[in-house]
Subunit: 379 residues, 2 copies
C-alpha cells in the first residue's frame, strides 16, 4: 500500500479598522478598502435595527457610492434583514443573499458588506462564504459585542434543527470596519452586553486589562464613548491575537474563549433568547468564577472583585433558570458539542485561565447558590 | 483612525492512501484512519452506481465495522444517493446528510465517509463542510477522475440557479482512500474519462509523464490495471503538489489546473452533461493546444502528438457543439467566473504551460475548425 502525505498552510490576512462615520463623504476608508484595478460590485445587507436607528443609512451609502464611483458600484439597493437571533433561524435570509448573488452576478471579486449586530453578521457571513466558495465579505459590526468579539473573528453560522450554529464555516472576512457612530444609538442592554466578552478575555489573559475595567466601570456604565472605544480596541486586539496565535479553525478541542460560555448557551436557550448573549455570558462567567473559588483556585477576594465589577456595570449575576438540573444538562450538551471529551476553562487567578476536563456536580450547585446570594445582596 | 492587522496561517494535512479492497476484513487501513481515544461515529454515503456494481458493499461495511468495533461505530445504514451531476442539482441530498448529522448526533469528532464518483464526493463534501463548521470527511473516490483529480483536492460544491458549483467551500478532507477494486467495474467511458486530467497535468507540468502516457496508451485503452494504477498515482501526486505549492484556496486569479476547462465547461452545459467531464476536458485541451499552435507557441508536431494520444485513447476531439459562437459565449462566461479578468493557460511546449490574458476570436474559430479536420481523419 502506497500513500501520499498532503501538507500545506493557507495564509490569511485582514485588517480591522476603527473609524467614525464610515459613509461620510470625506471618509475614504471604505472606498480604499474595496479599491482594485476596476470598480468592484458591492452589495449591502443591513440589520433592520440599524436601518431604523439610522434612517439615512441607505441614502448615505448611495451618495457615498456616487462620490466613489471610480472605486465601486452598488449593484442593488441594500437588503434589509431582521436583527437578532431570528435572522439565524430562518433559512430564507441566506437564500435571499444567494438569490441576490446570482441575480446581480456577484462573484469572487465582488464584495458583500453586512452592517449589523452579531447575528446578522453570522448569517450574512455564512451565505457569503458558500456562494462561489467565498465572496469577499466586509463586516461592519454595529454593537459592542460584534465590534470587540463576534464580528471580528473567522466564524459564521446559522441555526438549524433548533440547534444554535448548526450550519457554518470558518471564513476570515476581507476586512472589518468598526464605526463608533453606530454605538451611540444602541439600547442600554446592547451597550452593556458586549462588555462581558471584554471581562472574559481580561480574566483569562490580562490582569491589567481587568484593573482597567474596574477603574472605568462607572464611565462605561455612564456610556462615555472614549472608555468604550478603548475597551473595544483592547478587547478586539486580544481576541485577534488569540485567534492568530492559537487554532483559528478550531481543529483541536481546546476552546479557551469559551470561558463562561457552556452555562451561557444553556441560559440563552432556556430563556428563549430573552437574555442577550452578553447577559448570559456574564452569568456564565460569574458561575465559573464562583466554581473556581469553591474548587480552591481563586480567593474569595478575587471572586468578590469579579462579581462586583459585573454588578457595577448593571449586570444580573443570577436568574431563576440557573438551577442545578439545568446546569448539568447544559454541561452534558457542551460535552457532546465538543465531541465527547469535556474541556472547560476555569480561573487560576485573575488574568490567568486553567483548563480542566471535569466538573463536580455538587460544586456547580454550590456555585449557583452562591450567585443567588450575590444577586440578593444590596448593591 | 486606528487599525489592527490580523494575519495567520492555517496548517492542513491529510493522507491520500492507495489500497485494494478497503473493506476486506484483513485490511486495517480504514480502521486505522478513524482510530482515536474512543470509537468514533461513522456515517457512510454511497453512490448508487457503486452500490449496484458492488452489491455487497453495505454488508461488507457492516461486517468490517463489527470486526473493528473498537475503532468505530456505524451510526446508521449507509445513505445511497444517485450518481452523476444529478446529485449536485437537487438540494434534497445535502439536506438528507444534514438531517442524518442531526439525527445521529454526528459531531466534529465523527466521520462522514463518501464512496463514489466526483459528483457524489462534491455534494457530500459540501454538506459535511457546513455541518458544525466541518465534520471529519473521508473520501473514497471510485472513478479514475475522482481518484487522480477531483476527489483528492480541497474543493466541494453543488449546483444552484442552473450554475455549476454555485455553492461550495474549500475544505480539505480528513483522508482520501483510493481503492483500485472500484475501477474494475467502471464503464469504459468512465475508465477513459479520468485519463484526460492526467494528460492535462502532463502537458502543463511534466513532459516525461506525457511520454509515459504515449508509451502506455495501448495498455490504458486495454484496461490494464497496473498502467492505470501508475497513472493515478503519478497524476494524484502532481495534483497534490500543485495544490500544496500554489494557492490552495484560490485566493488569487491564476488557475493553471483549469487548462482546457473553459471550453469544457461550456460543452458539458451545451450537451446537457451527455458528455462526461473528462470527455469535455479532452476536447477543451485539444482546442487550447490547437490554439497554442496557431498562436505560434507549439509546433505542428507537438499538436499532432497531443491529438494522436487522445485518439489512441478513444477520445472524440470535436463535436458539433464546438462552434465559434458557443466558444465565444463560453469564454465570456469564464471571464465572468474569474471576476472580470481573464486568465487562460496555453501551452508553451509539451510539459510547460503559459498563462495569457486574452484570446483572439479568429484563432479560436480556426482551432475549432482544425479539430473538426482531425476528427474526420482516419485513425
Amino acid at each position: 500500500m502506497k500513500s501520499i502525505q498532503q501538507k500545506f498552510s493557507v495564509p490569511f490576512k485582514y485588517t480591522v479598522h476603527f473609524t467614525e462615520g464610515v459613509f461620510s463623504l470625506d471618509n475614504i476608508l471604505f472606498a480604499h478598502t474595496v479599491r482594485n484595478a476596476r470598480p468592484a460590485k458591492v452589495f449591502f445587507i443591513i440589520d433592520e435595527g440599524v436601518a431604523e436607528a439610522h434612517p439615512y443609512i441607505s441614502s448615505d451609502i448611495k451618495n457615498y457610492a456616487e462620490a466613489y464611483s471610480q472605486d465601486f458600484i452598488l449593484c442593488a439597493t441594500p437588503l434589509i434583514v431582521t436583527g437578532g437571533e431570528g435572522v439565524k433561524n430562518d433559512r430564507s435570509y441566506v437564500d435571499q443573499i444567494l438569490d441576490a448573488s446570482n441575480k446581480y452576478g456577484i462573484d469572487r471579486h465582488s464584495f458583500i458588506v453586512a452592517i449589523g449586530g452579531g447575528a446578522v453578521l453570522d448569517m450574512a457571513g455564512f451565505a457569503t462564504a458558500i456562494a462561489h466558495r467565498g465572496i469577499r465579505h466586509i463586516r461592519i459590526p454595529t454593537t459592542v459585542l460584534a465590534q470587540n468579539d463576534s464580528g471580528i473573528g473567522v466564524k459564521n453560522s446559522v441555526n438549524a434543527y433548533s440547534k444554535k450554529n448548526f450550519l457554518g464555516t470558518f471564513a476570515p472576512p476581507f476586512a472589518v470596519i468598526n464605526d463608533t457612530a453606530f454605538l451611540s444609538t444602541l439600547e442600554d442592554r446592547d451597550w452593556r452586553s458586549g462588555i462581558s466578552e471584554a471581562v472574559k478575555v481580561a480574566l483569562i489573559k490580562d490582569a491589567s486589562f481587568f484593573k482597567w475595567l474596574e477603574a472605568n466601570a462607572a464611565d462605561l456604565k455612564a456610556r462615555k464613548m472614549p472608555s468604550m472605544e478603548e475597551l473595544i480596541y483592547r478587547c478586539a486586539g486580544m481576541h485577534l491575537d488569540h485567534i492568530a496565535g492559537g487554532d483559528p479553525f478550531e481543529m483541536g478541542s481546546s476552546r479557551p474563549l469559551d470561558f463562561g460560555h457552556w452555562a451561557a448557551h444553556k441560559l440563552e436557550q432556556l430563556t428563549n433568547y430573552r437574555l442577550r448573549h452578553g447577559e448570559a455570558v456574564a452569568i456564565g462567567i460569574c458561575l465559573d468564577a464562583a466554581y473556581s473559588h469553591l474548587k480552591g483556585l481563586i480567593s474569595i477576594e478575587d471572586l468578590n472583585r469579579i462579581i462586583s465589577l459585573f454588578k457595577k456595570l448593571n449586570f444580573t449575576v443570577h436568574i431563576p433558570e440557573l438551577s442545578g438540573d439545568n446546569l448539568l444538562k447544559g454541561l452534558e450538551e457542551f460535552r457532546e458539542h465538543l465531541g465527547g471529551e469535556l474541556t472547560i476553562m476555569l480561573l487560576n487567578e485573575i488574568g490567568q485561565g486553567l483548563e480542566v476536563h471535569e466538573m463536580e456536580s455538587q460544586l456547580i450547585f454550590d456555585a449557583a447558590e452562591k450567585l443567588k446570594e450575590y444577586q440578593e445582596e444590596e448593591n
